[in-house]
Amino acid sequence: MMEKRSFKWANLYLVFVFLLLYAPIAYLIYYSFNAGGTMNSFTGFTWEHYQAVFEDTRLIRIALDTLKLALSSALAATIIGTFGAIGIYYVKKRRTRNTLLSFNNILLVSPDVIIGASLLILFTMVGFQLGFTSVFLAHIAFSIPIVVLMVLPRLQEMNDSMVTAARDLGANSFQVLSRIILPSITPGILAGYFMAFTYSLDDFAVTFFVTGGGFSTLSVEIYSRARQGVSLEINALSTILFLFALGLVVGYYFIQQGLEKNKRKRTAVKDPTNHEKAVSPR
């Protein structure tokens, strides 16, 4: 009886916390449909703010730029970060390896403002034009440590004697990398890319420092518009972004589920010609 009661309290607490966390977002979404034009009182339902968002070509361009930036910087960071993780993993001296890993982790925990400011100083010192490229490089820079952190555990889980076995069976270093190491750590690489993508997508501070030349991302744009006075167009835009993020999370969940199901399915199939499909054409 007592147990059941306390269990209910725990549930209530959980609901309360989530309500608290989601209330501002819900409030914001709610008023994105307000015909009144302010967030003081809800006067009627309308789609007009959404219409305004889609008619705002500048905003659309910025949204596409942001997406392009996130996709490309995450890709670059994933490539660099994956090889970085492999590099750190194969450092023989434990001390050196731990030092390298610490340097990686420091970048993760250091405040965005400091990273942004230092990158700004760097870019202006070397006379780099601020714009898409500077933001792109900055995003790669802060995404790499995340990728390293996602990939490294997969490497540590990997059975090292697999690499030895592949060498024994005649594989050179490149073949070991492409056929053994990379396939083994693919889940980590995908997770790393996803994380880098979301980090890039919602970064404000670093971008704010290093952007220029008319280039802007959604976070920076929303910030500057909000400062000029809140228009419900921003609510609409934020709602769209929120739904997009939600879609990403749901999509990621289903991709993971699909991967696992696929694996189970593949083991169940007894079609003798199936192996030909599994053969990678090289």
């Binding site: 005649g170 030909e276 053969v279």
Partner: protein, 367 residues
């Protein structure tokens, strides 16, 4: 170099920092034989395997495969394949792809690969498992996949690093037969590493007994079992009674308070020696008819036989394997034949041992 030699070690040593794991080892491996490196963990047997495969470099000395020095040849360029202790199968590939790995690296065409892999699957009795995931295979099946994956490359030498240690007893015995049969059928040189003396005795043409980075004794299973060079080998291979004695003269040895006829010789008169008698060579009899009289101390039922421990009047412990029961506390006689006695000198090297045997053994008596 003998024409039949496939691998030769010339004074090969290996040290890691301060640790010398291999002390100037030399040996020849002949084509088409089953070799076993036998010794406790840390004796350097896996190091020898790694040196042959090319996973580590020798600190000193030359390693020759097929007459060519291979010290600087990377593992992927050696015609040698390995079956690893943990099998080291690729979990992201199915059974077929695991076995096909080496062939794909060699860029063989799909048809040849399919043919060779299905042949390997048939050889290892794995037909129908081609599309299974590695995670779906049992320990014994994984073992077979690992062997198939190595053998499909048609290596000159197959290295096996304690491949049976993860299997249960019944499966292990089964695999011993199978490996032996496989080796004889294919005619490939097998080098098998183990710490299990039973495995070594059952499968090998030749055993290298190792201790602390050195080969203590090499020979056929029968040679090593019947004529161990010293206490270490006698103790490591099978059960044995080892007592101290004195070599009165050639073919006469004293121990347990009596002088016995034996088949060993070539020692100094009255030299202190160690005498080995295997427990299964001792036969329980009445005190009057036995060569030695012991008092039974303990008895254990081992299934196949009773393991009986007794002490003679000098206090030496004697272990007897007998299918007949003894009575604890009773005095019994132990009878044995002169050829059951094996005499070992203290600190004799393998060369000295072989040379001594040459001098006192008649031509052809010992092969």
């Amino acid at each position: 170099m003998a024409e039949n030699t496939i691998i030769r070690f010339e004074d090969v040593s290996k040290r890691y920092d301060e640790m010398e794991v291999l002390k100037s080892v030399s040996f020849d491996i002949e084509r088409g034989k089953f070799y076993t490196l036998l010794g406790p963990s840390g004796c350097g047997k896996t190091t020898i395997l790694n040196l042959i495969a090319g996973f580590t470099d020798a600190t000193n000395g030359d390693i020759l495969i097929d007459g060519k020095k291979v010290n600087d040849v990377p593992p992927n360029k050696r015609k040698v394949n390995t079956v690893f202790q943990d099998y080291a199968l690729f979990p992201h590939m199915n059974v077929f792809e695991n076995i096909a790995f080496g062939l794909r690296i060699k860029k063989m065409n799909q048809k040849t690969i399919e043919q060779k892999v299905s042949e390997a699957l048939r050889m290892m009795r794995l037909e129908g498992y081609a599309n299974r995931d590695i995670s779906e295979m049992s320990g014994g099946q994984r073992q077979r996949v690992a062997i198939a994956r190595a053998l499909v490359n048609e290596p000159d030498v197959l290295l096996l690093d304690e491949p049976l240690s993860a299997l249960d007893l019944k499966l292990r015995t089964e695999m011993q037969y199978e490996l032996r049969e496989l080796q004889q059928r294919l005619g490939i040189t097998f080098i098998f590493v183990t710490h299990d003396q039973e495995e070594a005795l059952a499968m090998s043409d030749e055993i290298f007994v190792m201790k602390e980075g050195e080969i203590v004794q090499s020979g056929t299973p029968v040679d090593i079992y019947d004529e161990p060079i010293n206490r270490y080998v006698a103790d490591f291979i099978g059960e044995s009674n080892i007592v101290e004695g004195t070599m009165v003269e050639d073919y006469r040895v004293a121990f347990g308070g009596k002088v016995f006829e034996c088949v060993d010789g070539g020692m100094r008169p009255n030299e202190r020696v160690e005498v080995v008698v295997r427990p299964e060579d001792l036969i329980l009899t009445s005190p009057g008819r036995g060569n030695l009289v012991v008092k039974i101390d303990t008895q254990l039922f081992r299934g196949v036989h009773y393991e009986i421990i007794g002490y003679d009047e000098e206090g030496n412990e004697w272990m007897v394997h007998s299918t007949r029961r003894a009575i604890v506390g009773e005095q019994v006689g132990l009878s044995f034949e002169p050829q059951d006695i094996h005499v070992m000198r203290f600190d004799e090297t393998e060369e000295e041992f072989d040379a001594r045997i040459e001098t006192y053994t008649e031509e052809g008596e010992r092969v």
